[in-house]
Every structure is written in C-alpha cells, then in structure tokens.
C-alpha cells in the first residue's frame, strides 16, 4: 500500500483538487484506491457527494483496534472508496497531543486497510500541526501543490524545514506548480526557473483553468466530465511523473 499525501501549509492551492483527480486516474489504471478526507471542512467528501460524517467521530478511529473499514463509503467509481471527513476531525490535534504514541495512531488506522487498497490519498487540511506531522510519518510521498508566487515559495520552504528530519528519510517530497497562469509574468518566471531549494519541482504542472473550477458544480473528477481537456491531460502527466519519481 502506497500512501500519498496532498499537503501544503497554505490554503486554497489545489490540494483537494489534486487528491480527487489523481485518485481517479490511479483507480482508472486498475488499482484499488482510498481517499481519506482529513479536512474537517470536507471538500473531498463533497466532490464525491458523500456526507462528511464518520460514525463515532475521530474518537472511534483512534480506538486501539479501530473498525476503520466500517466507516468507509463506496464512491460512484468502483475502484475508489472514501474515508469521509468529520466535524470532529477539528479535535484531532488535541487528541493526538494527549495520545501516548501520537505517531502510531495513523499507522494503526492505515494498517487495518493494508489488504484492501493499493493506494491511499490523504487530503490534508492547510496547517502545520500534529495532524500533518502524523501524515508525514505514514506517507510515502508528499505531493505539494504550489502556486508560483514568491509568497508561496516561502511557505514551501517552511514545509521543507519541517520535513527535514532523519526519521523522514523515506518520505519523498514532490512539489509541483498549481493554478499556473501563464499570462502572469511572475508565474511564468518562477515556473521557467524554479528556485533551488534542495528539492526538485516536478516538470508537470496544473494550469489555472475554468474547467477545473467547474468541479465544484459537477462534483466529479475532471477526467469524468472533461476527459479530453487540457487540464485533464495535465493531471495525467502529473500522475505519470509521480509514478516515475516514486518508481511505482
């Protein structure tokens, strides 16, 4: 089971959009995929038309022997399931703080699903917290959508600082540009010459496009309603490159 987290400290950069579309592409290739909507706001759940509700809330998931599979919902796509968001997830941090082994919580939850899924996509809330730290520990890779602006690059530096930890040696850090507007000079400049920060940006990037925005109305992955669009192709290219980088 490979765990891929869509993460950024910054909000509104395309994390959820990436989780939903990549999970769809990955599932289309014939893999069993789970999306875990970690954001109490429940955007990923919304896109899959699933109520952001987990019976018993986060406490139930944090049981010693959690019955996680029970909380999972099937989406409209046979290969994709969703572990929905829940309002109680906003307490996740506090629960993790007070937990004796905060780092093993997520591991326990995911290992219960080891025989069910080839890939787990974690759609993370925008913050740095115990939750994100837990995410770093269970993930194989962080996919970091980054808007090509100087400010965004600074938050990316912060992420890199947090994840620069010996214990996280195996965690691959894969930033890529998101919501790219080629008409904007700064976007163009930064994309063409990404700053040297000790990590390599993926070549593939996601342009700013109205058909991506439309996802909020369609409530489906782009590839399901605009499979031939430019953005769809960009997501496909992004997935290909991620697979190459992770040797999947």
């Amino acid at each position: 089971m490979k765990v891929l987290a869509c993460y950024n400290i910054k909000g509104g950069v395309g994390k959820t959009t990436t989780s939903v579309n990549l999970s769809y592409i990955c599932a289309n290739e014939g893999a069993r995929v789970l999306v875990w909507d970690l954001d109490p706001q429940g955007a990923a759940s919304f896109y899959f038309r699933i109520k952001p509700k987990v019976k018993g809330g986060v406490e139930k998931l944090f049981d010693k022997k959690p019955d996680v599979y029970d909380a999972i919902k099937g989406t409209d796509y046979l290969n994709i399931d969703l572990l929905p968001a829940d309002f109680s997830y906003r307490n996740m941090d506090i629960l993790l703080e007070s937990s004796k082994k905060p780092r093993s919580r997520f591991r326990t939850i995911l290992s219960a699903l080891e025989d069910e899924y080839d890939y787990v996509f974690l759609d993370c809330p925008p913050s740095f917290s115990m939750v994100s730290e837990s995410v770093f520990f269970v993930s194989d890779a962080l996919l970091i959508p980054t808007i090509p602006t100087t400010l965004s690059l600074r938050t990316l530096e912060q992420v890199l600082k947090y994840t620069d930890d010996k214990i996280l040696k195996k965690l691959a850090i894969l930033p890529f540009f998101s919501m790219v507007d080629r008409r904007k000079n700064m976007h163009k400049l930064i994309c063409e010459r990404p700053p040297k920060m000790g990590v390599k940006f993926l070549e593939a990037f996601i342009p700013y496009a109205s058909e991506v925005e439309r996802m909020g109305i369609e409530r489906r992955p782009i590839l399901d309603y605009a499979g031939h669009s430019k953005s769809a192709k960009c997501y496909l290219a992004l997935w290909q490159e991620i697979k190459e980088r992770l040797k999947l």
Binding site: G30, F48, R49, G74, D76, D115
Partner: protein, 520 residues
C-alpha cells in the same frame, strides 16, 4: 446473495416502471455485455471457493471475485482482460490470488451474452447508493443453439449505504413475492451446458489393486497417462500457459520410465517401437519447454543482478520470446502430424487390447504387488549404492546420474503407492523428494549455465547481443556457478538424512522380499 429469479409472469418493463415510481432510481441505457466465468484449466480458484467473473463491454473489464463461502465479494475495474496474475494492475488482487493461480493462466470456462438493464438508486446529492440489474443471459450450447437462462434481478449495495439495497430487496420480496435465489448464475449456466468442473490433476490415478496381473495393471496405469497427455494437448497447442506442456511432458516421462524399468511383461517387439516413439515426443517437446523455463526464470535472473545492470538483460528476454514462438510452431506441427496421431492410436489399441491368458513372459502374470515390491526395492538399493559412492572429489557427472536413479525410484513409488499404507509411503516420497530437490537444483544450475552460454552464441549470431547484455549474462553465469557449489555441499546432509537407519528399516519393511537378501 441479493439475487432473485424473475418469473416470466412478471414483465420486466412493468417491474422497472413500478420500481422507478417507488424509489429515486435513474435508469442507464440498457447494454449488451459479455460475462465470462474464468478460471485456470484445473479450476484452482473454484477449488478454493471462488468464482472469477468478468463483465465486459469490450472497453472496460469489471472483475468480480465472488466467494462461495460468504466472504464479501471483491470488485475491480480494469482496461483489459487479465490472463495471468501479473496482468492485474492491483497489487492487492495479485497478493490475494498468488499461491492459487501461480503461473497458470485464466481462461474462459463459460461465456454469457448478457442484456443488462441498470437502475441506480440515487440520493439527493446525486450519488449512487445501490444498483439494481435486470439481466437476461444466453449461452451457446454444444449443439450450437443458444440457451436462455432465467432472468435474474441482482441488487448490489454500495459500501456504506446498505439501507437503499435493503429497501429494494424488501420491495421485491413483498410486492412480487420473489425469493432470493441460492444457486449462483454460474451454476445454472454450468448445468445448462453440462459443464463438468473438471477434476483434472496431474497426480496419478491408481486403477488397480494388489492381486491384479502386472500386465493388466500396468496397461491401466499407462492408459491414464495417455489420458493426461491428451487432455493437455489443446492447451499446449494454444499455448494458454506453460503448465499444459509441462504436465504433458511429465506424463510422457512417466510412461517412458514405466516402459524401461519393468521388463518381461509386454512383448519386446511392440515395446521397442513405443519406447522410441515416446522418446521422440520427449525430444520434440523439449525446446519449447526449455524456453518456457527460461522465461519463467527471467524475473529471478534479473532481480539477482545489480540494479544498474537489470535493464541490460531485456535482449535475452526478447530472444527467449522469439525462440519460444519458433519452437512452439514446430511443436504444434509435430502434435498435429500423422506420425503423432498414429502413434497415439496404436498405443491406445495396444493398451486396450486384452492381455493373453497364457504367456511366456515371466513377469506378466505376477500379481502387481509383487512386481512393485521387487522393482522398488531394486531401485532403492541402486540409489543407496550410488549415493554412498559420491565423494567430494567425484565429478559432477556422478551426481547427474544419481538424479536419474532417484527419479526412477520416485516414479515407481508414485505408480504403486496405493498398494502400500498411504501414510508411510507418502512419508517416504516426501523424504525422497527432499533429496531429489538438491539433485534437481544441482542439475538445473549446470543446464542453465550451458544454456545461457548457448544463448549468448546464438544471440551473437543473430546480432542481438550488445556488450552490456553480454556482461550481464556473464555475471549471471558467474552467480549460477556459485550456487552450484552450495548445492553440492547440501547434498551430503540430505543424503545422510535419506539414508538414516529409520529410513532403511522402513524401506526394508515395506518392500523387501524374504529371500532377496542383499544387505544395505
């Protein structure tokens, strides 16, 4: 199972209308698809309690692994029809099937043409929470006519939304008095075409008992071997997977072994002809089998090389695939040849013709048990003698010869195992097998080294060998050499296990005749 038979008295249009009027259902346009029930030739999945059902409209393939023992079904969609385990993109599925399918291919045992009507139960967010299918299935019978199966209504819940599917099935039960059907569609289809879920196994059947005449018993045994050969011909010709040819060859080898070991039972003249004929079959099937073996080994070869060199080995794979095809063509021609067919025919005539009541052949009329005792004991004695003669200094050739002696004993034990207490003979076979494994591996490795060398020469001639590939193959040969040494060391300990006192006593007690007093 959430499945119902729809009686003819309930028209499907009316049923659909009633359902749509009662529940928030959306109808997809009806479609014609194929439903394949796939399994290996020897029904490995079925024997483990699974049906492997694939629904396809020729663009996507919906795999259903249906448990006959109540496990939750697994579903996966993919873009092509999987044949081998590796064709399934999901590692989870691969793991699940590994150990059952192994290297066998999936093949269609039943193909249904399906007219499928789909109603989706949609909640207020527009999400599908259950699916109801009305399915009319037809399948071709032996006489070429299409047989129509009873129409089924199938309700499939979406995980986490059990309520909707429960509502639907309650409705069918209450409004239409439908009862859930117990028999899966597969079973009805199998019945309709008299499909026998074959009990194929390459294990030997034992069609005789203690007091039977040796010649009759042997003919019966050889006849079942002929059956196994024939059963595997189609799969070999179609090259469905490598196991068909393998099993065919095993039966040929067993046949040859029986003919060569047990003397003075059949007239020598007819025997010679068949011996050379079976040797011919062994020969013409050999090259294809070799290519199969090297292709099966390929991943292991590659994994044993350092990461950087692994890609360099691919030209070898191309070479193997190319030559496997060429060899296979020759093999098919031979199987279809008049010579082969005529051979089988006369062999069958020989085996099915009654044995003469009186005969001058000294062993023909002996009870089979007596023949078995003597031959097993002799083969065992020979193995012990040759085995003890193996020293660290003796040439590899001696070990190769010993392997053949051990194999002969193995065949004899297997041929005649039903004449002895099952548990005890099985224990002996399993000990012998351990010894054979080292000998087999040892032999295998040197054969592989020679073959890789030959491949290098051939590839060079074909212009398919570059310097990188050559280096990779040389490294492989070097690695195999190292393993040979280790195997030889292992032999000593295995042989001493095999020849310990309790084993010797056991062989004596089971097979030794009083009067035949050779000490071991």
């Amino acid at each position: 199972m959430n499945e119902f038979l729809l009686p003819k008295s309930i028209p499907k249009i009316a049923l659909k209308e009633n359902l749509v009027a009662t529940f928030p259902l959306e109808e997809d346009s009806p479609r014609t698809i194929h439903r394949y029930y796939r399994d290996t030739f020897d029904w490995r999945l079925y024997k483990k309690g699974y049906l492997f059902q694939v629904d396809s409209d020729n663009t996507s393939y919906e795999l259903n692994l249906i448990s006959l023992e109540g496990e939750e079904p697994r579903v996966l969609t993919m873009q092509s029809q999987p044949r081998y385990i590796e064709d399934i993109p999901s590692k989870i599925w691969q793991q699940k099937l590994h150990g059952t399918l192994n290297i066998r291919a999936l093949m269609n045992h039943i193909t249904l043409s399906l007219r499928q009507h789909t109603l989706r139960y949609v909640d207020k967010d527009g999400k599908t929470v259950a699916r109801l299918y009305i399915e009319e299935a037809r399948l071709p019978q032996a006489n070429g006519r299409m047989k129509t199966l009873e129409t089924r209504v199938r309700i499939v819940p979406v995980k986490g939304y059990g309520k909707a599917s429960t509502e639907l099935s309650k409705f069918l039960k209450k409004e239409y008095k439908l009862k859930p059907v117990k028999q899966p569609q597969f079973a009805s289809a199998a019945q309709a075409i008299d499909l026998s879920i074959n009990s194929y196994s390459n294990q030997l059947a034992h069609p005789f008992s203690d007091q039977d005449r040796t010649d009759q018993a042997l003919k019966a045994l050889l006849l079942t071997l002929l059956g196994t050969i024939e059963v595997n011909e189609t799969g070999t010709v179609e090259d469905i997977d490598s196991e068909f040819l393998h099993d065919l060859r095993v039966s040929v080898r067993r046949t040859r072994s029986a003919l060569s070991q047990v003397k003075h039972i059949f007239p020598q003249r007819s025997l010679q002809r068949f011996e050379s004929a079976f040797s011919w079959i062994g020969q013409f099937t050999g090259p294809t089998r070799d290519m199969h073996v090297y292709l099966l080994n390929f991943d292991g070869y590659q994994a044993a090389l350092p990461k950087k060199m692994q890609a360099h080995l691919f030209p070898l794979k191309d070479f193997l695939i190319r030559h496997q095809k060429l060899e296979h063509e020759k093999l098919v021609a031979a199987i279809k040849s008049h010579r082969y067919q005529a051979l089988k025919q006369s062999w069958r005539i020989f085996l099915t013709s009654p044995c003469p009541e009186k005969t001058s052949l000294e062993n023909a009329t002996k009870p089979i048990k007596e023949t078995a005792d003597i031959h097993i004991w002799q083969a065992y004695a020979k193995l012990m003698k040759r085995g003890r003669a193996i020293t660290e200094a003796c040439p590899d050739e001696k070990l190769h010869k010993l392997r053949i002696v051990a194999k002969k004993l193995r065949y004899l034990l297997e041929f005649f195992q039903n004449l002895y207490p099952q548990k005890r003979i099985k224990a002996l076979i399993s000990e012998l097998k351990k010894l054979q494994d080292v000998l087999g591996d040892f032999q295998d490795l040197s054969v592989q080294i020679n073959a890789l060398r030959d491949f290098e020469i051939q590839m060079k001639e074909e212009g398919a060998l570059n310097a990188d590939t050559e280096a990779a193959m040389e490294l492989l040969v070097h690695q195999l050499r190292g393993r040979i040494k280790a195997q030889r060391k292992l032999f000593e300990s295995r042989f001493s296990d095999f020849s310990d006192a309790s084993m010797r006593t056991e062989f004596k007690m089971l097979f030794k005749k009083v009067g035949l007093n050779r000490t071991l």
